[in-house]
C-alpha cells in the first residue's frame, strides 16, 4: 500500500521545496502578547516515593504500579528553565515561562535578551517529553537576535540549560531542520511524552516581505548529555 505514492509525494514535495513555494503561513510582524508569565510553584516537600515493593506471595501477582495517593506525597513540579547557553554560537539568554498568544500560538517575548519556555509543556527536570524554548530570530527594532545563530548549530553542539533552582543540564544538538510552517507537526515539537529532550524554535527560511513573516520555522532538537 501507498509506498510508491509516498515516494512520489516526497519527490514532489522536494521539487516543490526547491522551487520555493510561497505558502501563506503565520509569522506576523505584530508584537506578541504574553499571557501572564507567572511561575506555578508545586508542593516543595516530600520527594516522590518509589513503587511499593510487592509483598511476598505464594501466588503470582501481576506487577501493577502503586503509589501513595496522599496529597502531600504528590511529585513536585520541576523548576522552570531560567537560562540558555550555547557557547559555541555565542548564545546566552534569559529564559522565562510563556503560554499562548491570542491566536493559539506560542507566545514570545519582545525583549531580545529573553527566550520563552512553553510553560505548559515539560521542563528540563521533567521525566519525559520535549522542553520547548523559542525566541525571535530578528526584530525591526533590535536587528538580528541571538537565536539567528542557531542555524549554525552543528550536530553535537552543546546547549546548557540552567533552571530556576540552579541545576545545569547539558544537551547535544541532534538535528536542525527548517520546516515550512504549515508542515510543522507541533504535536511532535511540544510532545509531553517520550525521552526527555530540548527543542529550540525560531523562524528561518524565506521571508515574505509583503506580509512580514518567515515562511519556515527553524527547529533544533537536542538530547541530554549524561
Amino acid at each position: 500500500m501507498g509506498r510508491t505514492a509516498v515516494a512520489a509525494g516526497v519527490f514532489g514535495s522536494l521539487v516543490a521545496a526547491s522551487a520555493v513555494l510561497g505558502l501563506m503561513v503565520a509569522c506576523t510582524a505584530a508584537p506578541e502578547r504574553i499571557d501572564g508569565a507567572r511561575i506555578t510553584a508545586g508542593p516543595t516537600d516530600a520527594p516522590r516515593p518509589g513503587d511499593v515493593a510487592p509483598a511476598a506471595s505464594p501466588v503470582a501477582v501481576p506487577h501493577i504500579p502503586r503509589r501513595s495517593a496522599a496529597l502531600d506525597e504528590q511529585p513536585a513540579s520541576p523548576a522552570p528553565p531560567a537560562r540558555l547557553e550555547v557557547a559555541a554560537l555565542g548564545i546566552d539568554v534569559v529564559v522565562r515561562p510563556a503560554g499562548l498568544d491570542a491566536q493559539g500560538r506560542m507566545a514570545l517575548f519582545d525583549d531580545p535578551a529573553v527566550a520563552a519556555w512553553y510553560r505548559w509543556g515539560p521542563a528540563p527536570g521533567s521525566a519525559a517529553g520535549s522542553t520547548v524554548i523559542a525566541a525571535h530570530v530578528d526584530s525591526l527594532t533590535y536587528d538580528l537576535l541571538p537565536f539567528a545563530r542557531l542555524r549554525d548549530a552543528a550536530p553535537g553542539t552543546e546547549v546548557v540549560v540552567t533552571d530556576a533552582a540552579g541545576a545545569r543540564r547539558a544537551y547535544a544538538v541532534q538535528s536542525l531542520e527548517v520546516i515550512e510552517k504549515a508542515e510543522v507537526d507541533w504535536n511532535v515539537a511540544f510532545d509531553r511524552a517520550g525521552p526527555p529532550r530540548l527543542t529550540l524554535v525560531t523562524c528561518g527560511g524565506e521571508f515574505d516581505t509583503e506580509n512580514r513573516r518567515y515562511l519556515s520555522n527553524l527547529v533544533v532538537t537536542a538530547t541530554p548529555i549524561d
Binding site: 509506498r3 510508491t4 526547491s18 503565520a26 502503586r66 496522599a70 493559539g104 500560538r105 538535528s175
Partner: protein
C-alpha cells in the same frame, strides 16, 4: 513534507515520513485505576477471580491497568484471605467501555460501611492553559462544599457523588466544609491542577473517626499543542535576503541530492517488495 534538511538528520527523518501512525493502544481496552479509601483495612483485590493487588493499603492508588473492554468482576477481601470466596466488598461488576478511563474506589459510604464505586474519568480534551479538577466524596461524612480561596466552587456534594470543573492551571487552595458552612473539615490544602491534566481529589475516611484525608490522582494527556511559533518579523535572517542567496542554494542543493538518493532507495525497495509478491 517540504522539509529542507540541513544538518545532522538523514535517513531517520525521511523514513519517518512514510511511517504509519502507531495503533491506538486504547483500542478495545479500557483503562482502570484502583484507589483504596477504606481506613485501617489492608486488603487483597481480585479481578475476575485472580489475585491482582496483594496487601493493598489504605491511601494507595494502583494502576493504571489496561483491561479488555467488557464487564469485570472485582472482589475485595481481607489481606489474609486465601481466595475471593468471602469478600469484604463485592463482588461488584465493573462494565468497562473501550477507550474509557475509570477509577474504582473502595471506600466508606455516608454511614461508614465499606462499599465500592466505579467512577468514569473525564478525559476529553482540555482547553490550552486550563486544567480539570474533579472532586469525589467517598468519605463517611455528610454532604460538603469545596471552597477555593474562601469561595464555594462545588456545593452540596454527597457521598458518592463527584463534580468536575475546568479552571486555569495553577495551584488551588482548597477547603472542604459541611454544606452551607465555611468551617473546614479538611484543609486548607494546596492542590496543583496542571495544564492539560485531570486532577482528581478524593475526600476519604470518616468524619466521626477523625481520619478524613485528601487523596489525589492525576490523568495526563488531554492537552493540546500551540499551533505555531511566530518568531521573526524583519527578514534579516531570511534565506532570500540578498547576502544569503549563495549558502541557501547550496544547502537546498545538498539537501535535495541527499533526499533524492533516499527517495531512490525507497523506490527500489518498493519495487523489490512488489516483485517478491
Amino acid at each position: 513534507m517540504n522539509r529542507i534538511v540541513i544538518a545532522g538528520i538523514g535517513a531517520g527523518a525521511l523514513v519517518a515520513l512514510g511511517a504509519v501512525a502507531p495503533a491506538n493502544a486504547s483500542e478495545g481496552t479500557a483503562t482502570l485505576s484502583v484507589l483504596h479509601g477504606v481506613p485501617d483495612l489492608t486488603v487483597d483485590v481480585y479481578v475476575n477471580g485472580e489475585l491482582t493487588l496483594d496487601d493493598f493499603a489504605p491511601g494507595e492508588l494502583a494502576g493504571p491497568l489496561e483491561l479488555p473492554a467488557g464487564t469485570h468482576s472485582v472482589a475485595i477481601t481481607a489481606a489474609d484471605a486465601a481466595d475471593a470466596s468471602s469478600p469484604a466488598i463485592g463482588p461488584v461488576d465493573l462494565p468497562l467501555d473501550a477507550g474509557a478511563n475509570y477509577t474504582a474506589v473502595a471506600h466508606l459510604d455516608a454511614a461508614g460501611d465499606p462499599t465500592a464505586t466505579l467512577f468514569t474519568n473525564d478525559v476529553s480534551e482540555i482547553p490550552a492553559g486550563q486544567g480539570r479538577l474533579t472532586v469525589r466524596h467517598v468519605a463517611a461524612a455528610p454532604a460538603v462544599d469545596v471552597l477555593a480561596g474562601g469561595q464555594p466552587v462545588i456545593t452540596d456534594l454527597a457521598n458518592p457523588a463527584e463534580q468536575t470543573l475546568d479552571l486555569p492551571a495553577g495551584t488551588v487552595s482548597a477547603t472542604v466544609a459541611a454544606t452551607g458552612t465555611t468551617e473546614p473539615v479538611l484543609g486548607p490544602a494546596d492542590v496543583t491542577v496542571s495544564e492539560g491534566t485531570l486532577t482528581i481529589a478524593y475526600a476519604w475516611g470518616s468524619l466521626e473517626d477523625d481520619n478524613l484525608a485528601l487523596a489525589v490522582q492525576t490523568v495526563t494527556g488531554m492537552h493540546s499543542s500551540p499551533n505555531g511559533v511566530p518568531a521573526g518579523s524583519a527578514g534579516l535572517a531570511a534565506t532570500n535576503a540578498p547576502e544569503q542567496q549563495a549558502p541557501v542554494w547550496a544547502a537546498i542543493g545538498l539537501g535535495s541530492l541527499a533526499a533524492l538518493a533516499l527517495v531512490g532507495a525507497t523506490a527500489r525497495r518498493t519495487i523489490t517488495l512488489r516483485s517478491e509478491r
